[in-house]
Assembly symmetry: C2
Homo-oligomer: 491 residues x 2
Amino acid sequence: MTPGTAAIIGGGVIGGGWAARFALMGWNVRVLDPDPDSQRKIGEVLANARRALPGLADAALPPEGRITFCTDAAVAVSGADWVQESVPERLELKRDVYRTLQEHAGDAIIASSTSGFKPSELQAGATDPGQILVAHPFNPVYLLPVVELVGTEANPPETLTRADAILKDIGMHPLHLEHEIDAHIADRLMEAVWREALWLVKDGVATTEEIDDVIRLGFGLRWAQMGLFETFRIAGGEAGMRHFLHQFGPALKWPWTKLMDVPDLTEELIETIAGQSDVQSGRHSIRELERHRDTNLVALMRALKSQDWGAGAVLNATDAVLRKKNGMVQRFEDIYDLTQPILTLDRTVPLDWTDYNGHMNEAKYLQAFGDATDRFMEIVGCDAEYIATGGSYFTAETHIRHLDEIHAGHRIHIKTLCVGGQGKKMHLFHELWEADRLCATGEHFLLHVSLDTRRPSEPSPAIARHLAAIEAGHQGLARPAGLGRAVGQPR
Amino acid sequence: MTPGTAAIIGGGVIGGGWAARFALMGWNVRVLDPDPDSQRKIGEVLANARRALPGLADAALPPEGRITFCTDAAVAVSGADWVQESVPERLELKRDVYRTLQEHAGDAIIASSTSGFKPSELQAGATDPGQILVAHPFNPVYLLPVVELVGTEANPPETLTRADAILKDIGMHPLHLEHEIDAHIADRLMEAVWREALWLVKDGVATTEEIDDVIRLGFGLRWAQMGLFETFRIAGGEAGMRHFLHQFGPALKWPWTKLMDVPDLTEELIETIAGQSDVQSGRHSIRELERHRDTNLVALMRALKSQDWGAGAVLNATDAVLRKKNGMVQRFEDIYDLTQPILTLDRTVPLDWTDYNGHMNEAKYLQAFGDATDRFMEIVGCDAEYIATGGSYFTAETHIRHLDEIHAGHRIHIKTLCVGGQGKKMHLFHELWEADRLCATGEHFLLHVSLDTRRPSEPSPAIARHLAAIEAGHQGLARPAGLGRAVGQPR
C-alpha cells in the first residue's frame, strides 16, 4: 500500500498519537482542532513518538509524512483516505462532527477513537452511516499495536476490509469485533479492574502503589505475553482447560470481587471456552506453553532489568546481594592475589541469549565481555559514582575468537588479564570458560574519556594506581594464545 | 542470610514452584505430599525452573539446595525455618493440616499459598494462630517476584519481619497488606476480569483468543511495567490525576462492565487516590513518566520480537513489509551492481541499545554487525528455510573498531564488503555509517557448518556460487583501512 493521507479530528493525547503513528509510517497528516494550543500539544506527542517508534522496528521506516494544522474541516478531510475522530466522549458532539465531516469526506473511512460508544450509536442520524466505524486504540497509540475495529451491518464489508488494510499499513493489529457492545472488549476488562481497585483504595485495603506493584510484578508480566485464557489453560496443567474450569468454577460463587453478577458456568459455556481455547492454543502442548511463557517472562524481565524498572529493579537488587554472597571481587582492595587473572563474570546463560543456530548469539559474547569489562572498571574504581563525576572508559577496539559453543543454561565465567593500564589506556584480555572448556576470548582496548568533552582524558589518580598495580602483577603471566591476533591471520 | 530449610506441604504446580525457588536459591527443601506422583510432578516444575531462573540473574546463584521427599509430617517440618502450605482450597482441610504441622514445626513460619482465604480464617482453631500467615505467590512461582504477605493482629510483628526477610532471600518482593480481605488484592482484580471475560464469551461478543489478544497487545504490555494508577496518572496529562478522576468519573455510572456496584467518587476518595498517586509517582513529571513508559514498552516489545511472540510477532510481520518497501536487497538476484558493497542494515537505533555512557552499548555494535551478517547470509541463500535443512554459518572471529559515537534515534546503515567467500569460508567487512559519518567497522570470519555434526562443511552449490560471484565483484574495490588489523597495533 502507498501511504495516503489521514485527517486527525481532535488533537489530544489520542489524536496526537494517531497523528504521530500515521506520519512516522509515511502518511501525510492533517490535524483539525479548534484549540489554539493543539499544535504545541501534538508537537509534544510527536516528539515522544519520534524518540520511541522508529527504533522499535528492525528496518527503516518510510520517510516521515507531512503534518499540517487546519482550522477548516473541508481542507482537513477533502481527499483524505482515513479520518480519525478523537473528540471528547459526548455522543451529540460526535454526531455533529460527523455531519460536518461527511460533507467533505468523499469515500474516506471515518473512524472513531471512542472508548465507550457503540458504532450504531455513532452512525445514528449520519448522512452515510456505512462510512463510520469504531477504531479504538490504546495509549500510547504510536507504540501499542492493537486496535479494536467495530462496525455494524450498515458498513459495507469492503469498508472493513479497507480499514483493516490501512491499520496494518501503519503497523497495527486490528481486532475485528463481530458484535458491538458498550466499551468494546478491552475497556470492559479494564473498567472492571478499575472499579474493583477503587473499592480497595476506598476501603483502605491497599494503596495505589500496592495495587500497581501487585499488577506489574505479577499478573501484568504474564498478560504482556499471554492473556487470561492461555494463562489459565496452563494453570489447568496436563488435565487442560476443562479441568481448570471445573476446578475454579466454584470460586465464581465466592465474594472474591464486587462483581457478583456472574454467568452460570454451564457445561455448554465450559465447552465453548474449552473449544475456543483449543483453537487458540491447542497447537502447543501444556509443557510447550509453559516453556514459551517462561522464555517470554525471562526476556521481559531482563528487558526491565536494563531499565532498572519494576520487576527489573527487584531483580537487580537481588543480583547485588548475590554478588556479595558469592565472593565476586567488588573493589581493588578485595583482590587477594594481584598476580592472577581476575574473575570478572560468573553467571548462567539466560534463555534470551540464544539464536536460530541454537546456541549463544555472537552479540551476547560481547555482552558478556562488556559486562566483564564493566566489572573490571568497577574494581579499579570506575564505578557508577565515578562515572557520575564525568569520567568513564570507552571501548576503541575489540577482537573476539569463538572457540567452542555455549548454550542457554551453561554456567560461564570470565577471567581477565590486564595487558596494559598506563595513562588513558586500558588493554584487557578476557577468557570465557564453561567449566574447563575455553569457549571464547575477548581482547579489548579502551580509552579513558571525559564525558563532557567526549575526548580522551587522564583517569583519577586512584584508578591509575590500581590499574598500574594490576598491570604489574599480571606482567609475570604468560601472554595468552590469540593476543594481538588479526581476523583471518593463519594460526 | 544463610539459606535455611523449607518444608513444602502439597506438591502441585504452586508447591512445586515454591520448592524450585527455594532450592535454586540455595535452601534445602523437604516436600510432603501423599500423592505417589508428586515426585514426578515436582520434577517437571523443577526442570522448568532450572531452565529459566538461574539465567534470569546476572550473577551466580548459590549452590542448589537438596530436595528430599517425605511422607511423614514430623520429618518434613522438624527444624524447618519456613513451612509453605499449598494444599487444595478447602478451609477445613487446611485447618487440619495446620494442627498436624504445629505439633512438629517449632518456631518455623507457616505460610499458606491460599488464593482466597483470609489469614484469620486459617488461624481460627490453630494451636498457635500467630505462627500462621498468608504468602500468596503467582505462577510461575520460580519466576514472578511478587508475593502477597498477609497477617492478622495475632501474628507478632517479628514474625512478619522474619517472613519478609526470608522471602527477599529467595528473590521475591513481599507486598505486605495492612488489612485482610477475601482473595487479597491481585486475585480480586483478576477475578473481576475473569468474570467480565466469561460474560463476553458467553454473550458471543469475543472469543478467548480475541480477549487474550486485546490484553497482550494492549494494556497487558502497559501493566508489565506500570500498573493501573500510574498509567492513568499519565492519561491525565499535564492536568494530573485529579483531572483524570474528574474527567472519567462519569464513566463509573455507565454500563461499561457488569460490575455496577461502584463506590461514589466523592471529593474525599479523589483526594485519597490523588494523594497516594503523588506519593507513588510524584517524583517524576508526567513527561518523565511518559518517557519511562515508552522506553519500557520499546524494551518489552523488542524482547518479545526476539521470541517472535505476541506483540513481537506483530512487529516482526511489519518489519518484513517495511524491508520490502524500503528497497533492501532480499535475494542474490536483486543485487543490481555486483561490484559495490551491499546494503545489509538500515535502521534507527532503538531506546534499549544505549548504556550508562549515554551512547550505543558496545555489545549492540556486534548486534548490528550480526544482523548485517544474517542479512548477507539470507541474500546468498542461507535463509531460515536453508538453515532448517541443517546448514548454517558460525562466526569464528570478529574485530570491531569503534570510530565515533552513536546515540538512540540515529539512523544507521551498514555496507558490506565480501573479502572472501571460497569453500566453507565467509570473510566479511562491514562499515557502519550514521549519515556520512563512519562510526565503526566490523571484520568477521565465518565457517559454514553442519548443524548436525556442529563441524565445518561445504555450503550448498547455490550459496557457493552466489558467494563466489560477490567475492569476484568486490575484488576491484579498494581494501578498507582497518582490514586485517589487530587490537593495539599502531595506526
